[in-house]
Every structure is written in structure tokens, then in C-alpha cells.
């Protein structure tokens, strides 16, 4: 039960999860292609935040050795999630770029961004 009472816990993970849910909600219910892509981006951001949060260490510093902190290895935050999130962000960017280009093409052909009007492939 105490895990629910830790404010910082709630704040960080809560906002990350909330971000994910907002993104998912947008992606799942909005009718505009742009909004759907935005929803996916928000979803992505939420996950990235989550990843970073997992690697965080209380009172930790960035995992960069600079003159003066070379012996502070034990208080450095976990670098792996950061490296992973870097990769994830770039990949997310690539996907978003492709998504937007698809949106452009759909718009070019259908003259609308509403998915309920783009239904060549429905039944």
C-alpha cells in the first residue's frame, strides 16, 4: 500500500502513464489523421518518460564523468535507459515522419483528413 502513498512515485509514473493514456485516447477516438498521429506521438513521449523514470536514481547525476565527479559512479543514474530512450526517440521520429508522409498522401488523394471519409478498404 505504501507504494501508492509515495508522492514522487505517483507524480512521475502517473504523469507518464497519463501521457500514454491521453495519447492512446486520441489515437483511438479522434477522427482527424493529424490528431491520430499526434496521439501516437504523445503515446511515444509517455513511454519515453516512463523509460527515463525507470533509470532514475534518487539524487543521481547524469552518467557523464567530468573532472571532479569521476568517483561518483554510485550516484549516477542508470545510463542504459537513457541510451535506449535515445534510440527509441529516433525510431519514434522515423515512424512519425513516415506517418505524416502517409497523411500527406491521403490528404492529396482524398482531400480530407477525416478517417471516416477515407474508407476505400472498408467492407
Amino acid at each position: 500500500m505504501e507504494k501508492y502513498l509515495n508522492i514522487l512515485n505517483i507524480a512521475i509514473y502517473g504523469s507518464a502513464v497519463l501521457l500514454m493514456l491521453i495519447g492512446l485516447y486520441g489515437a483511438l477516438t479522434k477522427k482527424s489523421l493529424i490528431k491520430i498521429v499526434l496521439g501516437l506521438s504523445i503515446l511515444d513521449s509517455g513511454v519515453h518518460l516512463l523509460m527515463i523514470a525507470i533509470g532514475y536514481l534518487k539524487d543521481g547525476t547524469a552518467p557523464i564523468f567530468s573532472p571532479g565527479n569521476e568517483d561518483k559512479m554510485n550516484i549516477m543514474v542508470d545510463p542504459i535507459p537513457q541510451a535506449l530512450v535515445l534510440t527509441a526517440i529516433v525510431i519514434g521520429f522515423g515512424v512519425t515522419a513516415v506517418a505524416l508522409s502517409l497523411v500527406i498522401r491521403l490528404y492529396r488523394h482524398h482531400n480530407t483528413l477525416r478517417i471516416d471519409e477515407i474508407k476505400k478498404l472498408k467492407w
Binding site: N6, F65, S66, A83, I91, A97
Partner: protein, 231 residues
């Protein structure tokens, strides 16, 4: 109806996610004998790289980065394919009308500095929070600024291809050099130097430069393609 279903589902999902992550906990060490410590110590002692994230991204998990570069390359290729039209017309334009004189002149002066900043960021990738992706992105935003400001500023497509290809070839070649000389793909073949100096970390710097160029060229290509997507 649909919204209700979505809301209920997301509610349950949210509950599970919160439950999972609160269980995992924030800001506390989660595991005892993970690879994290190995990464930190090896980065400091073996590679002499001060930015551990960079050491991970470029060396320990450099293969991921190769994939990541490929993803970006693929995205720009796919995007080019998706928005492909027959050869662009002469006199095409990136924007409908130029920006004001102030912005144009401002951008003109700023542009080389932005490129320099990008280069700085990826050259110092192993020393600072920067890296190839960040630097490449900065350079690409410089091009974005130019493309947005000038009506008919054109980036030489061939030059982009050269940069992109050569950078990619460089990356893989460094990997292959490692494979053929040391027996392991992407293994460091250069002296690692001293901590916190520019020339340290062996091939990491070179790889990050390649990545920087590649990312810059790719993102610029993407921006270019998208901006010219007008009838």
C-alpha cells in the same frame, strides 16, 4: 459507444500500468547484479569515455545504433517513396513566398553557426550530453531554417546522397574493420586516449561523426521532400 469502450479499456490499462510501475518504484535501485555497473566501469576504465550514454550508444550497444541509423535511413527512403512524384519541376519552391528581409538576413548569418553547433555537438558526443543524432538534428534544423526562409533555396540532392551514403559506409566500414582486425564487429581499433580529452574513446568519436553527418543528411532530405510536397 466507441468512446465509452475506449475509456473503460484505457482506465483498466492505466490501472495496470500504474500498479506495475509503482510496484517497480521510482528513484530506487531495482536490481543488484545488472549490467549497469559493468557499463559505468568499463566506460571509465576501458574506453575512457566520459559520457557513459555515448559509450553505450556507440560502443557497447553500437549495433543498436547501426539499426537506429538504418531506421532513419529507411524512414527517409520510405518517405521519399510515399511522396514520390515524377521528377520535380524546375523553379519549384520550398515555400510559397519568402520570409521577411529581417528573417532572411538573420538566418543567413545564423546558418553557419548552427551547422557549427551541430558539428560541435556530435564531435563532443563522448564528452557532453550531445551525440550524432542530436548534432545531426541541429544541422538539419539549420537547413530547415534556410528552406523555410528562402523561397527557392535548394539543397543539392546529390550532395545529400553523398553525405548520407559516405557516412553510412563509414559507419559500417569501421564496424567491419573491427571485425576483420579484432574479430568483432564494431570493436574499437584505435587508442582510447585520456578521459575528458577530445581525442578519446577510440572509434566512438568517428562513429558519432558519421552518425551526425548521416542524420543531418537524412533529416534534411526528409524536410526537403516534405516541403516540396506541394502541387
Amino acid at each position: 459507444m466507441k468512446k465509452v469502450i475506449v475509456l473503460i479499456s484505457l482506465g483498466i490499462l492505466g490501472f495496470y500500468l500504474i500498479d506495475i510501475f509503482l510496484g517497480i518504484g521510482f528513484g530506487v535501485p531495482h536490481f543488484t547484479n545488472g549490467v549497469k555497473d559493468l557499463y559505468l566501469s568499463n566506460s571509465k576504465d576501458t574506453l575512457k569515455v566520459s559520457n557513459v550514454v555515448t559509450a553505450i550508444v556507440v560502443n557497447f550497444r553500437g549495433f543498436d545504433t547501426l539499426g537506429e541509423v538504418t531506421v532513419l535511413f529507411l524512414a527517409s527512403t520510405a518517405l521519399g517513396g510515399i511522396l514520390y512524384k515524377k521528377r520535380h519541376h524546375v523553379g519549384e519552391r520550398s515555400v510559397l513566398f519568402p520570409a521577411s528581409q529581417v528573417v532572411m538576413s538573420g538566418a543567413k548569418l545564423l546558418f553557419p553557426s548552427i551547422v557549427l553547433l551541430g558539428a560541435y555537438v556530435f564531435i563532443h558526443g563522448h564528452l557532453s550530453p550531445g551525440g550524432g543524432f542530436q548534432g545531426g538534428t541541429i544541422i538539419a534544423t539549420g537547413f530547415l531554417l534556410m528552406l523555410l526562409t528562402y523561397r527557392n533555396y535548394s539543397v543539392s540532392h546529390n550532395r545529400l546522397v553523398y553525405f548520407e551514403s559516405l557516412a553510412g559506409i563509414l559507419f559500417v566500414s569501421i564496424g567491419l574493420v573491427g571485425y576483420f582486425s579484432k574479430g568483432s564487429f564494431l570493436e574499437n581499433v584505435l587508442p582510447v586516449g585520456n578521459m575528458n580529452e577530445l581525442f578519446s574513446g577510440g572509434v566512438i568519436g568517428i562513429i558519432y561523426i558519421a552518425v551526425g553527418f548521416k542524420v543531418a543528411a537524412e533529416l534534411t532530405g526528409i524536410i526537403y521532400t516534405v516541403l516540396h510536397e506541394k502541387d
